[in-house]
Amino acid sequence: MVYLQLIWSYLKIGLFGFGGGYAMLSLIENEIVQHGGSPSWGISEQTFTDIVAISQMTPGPIGINSATYIGYVVPANAGFDSPWWGLLGSIVCTLAVVLPPFILVSYTSHFISRHRDSAIIKGVLSGLRPVVVGLIASAALLLMNHDNFGTTPLELTVSVLLCLVSFLIVRYTKIHPISVIIGAGFVGFLVYYVFM
């Protein structure tokens, strides 16, 4: 049953994926391209690369993006031709990847709120705060790569400038980060499409 396999795979991705964004990528690849995915899924390494590329060009976490996309494509590959089967696949995969962490996070969050004044929770959180700062910094460092900054001298220069200016705006002005994203997209459009 292709739907059960899909649900099982995305339950695993949801429950064993830590760290957000591209940290989950190898887990997803493992499930849908290699051992996890049965041959009837018809997901090639190329399709997987496509999904990653699309995820970089659309909003939202890659975990959700891949669940929605794989859920739509796989039933058709397995012979369930109507788009409604695809829609059903999209919904069940997205729910499968979201639901277990949703429950886990809710319980943890409730537990911590209830015991917020206990010594254990206060102590643990005080130790976690500097770690989380380090985690955010590591995410920033890991993303400063050629995928995000380009490879040619022109791309690198434009990217470093865009990153620097965006940082200064977000940090030192009241301009909304969403406006910064839209502005950077517009600069990208001008530099790489209109002038080149």
């Binding site: 060009m57 959700i64 130790g127 770690v131 910094a137 990217s159």
Partner: protein, 189 residues
């Protein structure tokens, strides 16, 4: 407007402009939840981030669940999570139904726009490093912790580049330091 609807629409906006996963959301969430709506202060938000990171799952969804839960319990977390998921779900579904991946990948306008957006997204992750360091009360003595954590994860070396280690260590060390301090305070009194 009803608080659940406000939560939903706030996170819908956040979800629609989050490129590159949970870490890139932090700046936008800080702006919306901390600065604009004053639903949380920075330190609370940092504690919630710690919880979101410590539990498995998609970071962006976890963050919306912990924030929604803190503000309005289970219903709040449901509203926030739906807001985060829907833009991504609808856009990908539309691409899967109406377009082929090649059409998006090879579209020159879209790829030009995203060549501009990606370095800005990195900036959106660098900025909260400073604001969260301040909220965490990092000083010249404790700055070694985030620096070491960031560099070890960045190193890509086996074992030490796994973030889970530092969450577990941070929790244990934090607990020990906190109870010791409490104990020494008691003996002084």
């Amino acid at each position: 407007m009803n608080i659940y609807l406000r939560l939903f629409f706030t996170f819908l906006k956040i979800g629609a402009f989050t490129f590159g996963g949970g870490w890139a959301m932090i700046s936008i969430i800080e702006k919306e939840i901390v600065d604009k709506h004053h639903w949380l202060d920075r330190k609370d938000f940092l504690d919630l981030l710690a919880v979101a990171q410590a539990v498995p799952g998609i970071l962006a969804v976890n963050i919306s669940v912990v924030v929604g839960d803190r503000l309005r319990g289970m219903k709040g977390s449901f509203a926030a999570a739906m807001g985060t998921i829907l833009p991504s779900f609808i856009i990908i579904l539309a691409i899967a139904i109406f377009l082929t991946p090649e059409l998006i990948k090879n579209n020159e306008v879209i790829s030009a726009i995203f060549k501009g957006i990606r370095p800005a997204v990195v900036a959106l992750i660098v900025a909260p490093v400073l604001s969260s360091a301040k909220a965490a009360g990092i000083n010249w003595r404790t700055v070694i912790i985030p620096v070491a954590v960031a560099l070890l994860i960045f190193s890509g070396l086996p074992v030490v580049s796994n973030p889970i280690i530092y969450i577990i260590l941070g929790g244990i060390v934090g607990y020990i330091v906190f109870t010791r301090r409490a104990a020494s305070k008691q003996t002084i009194n």
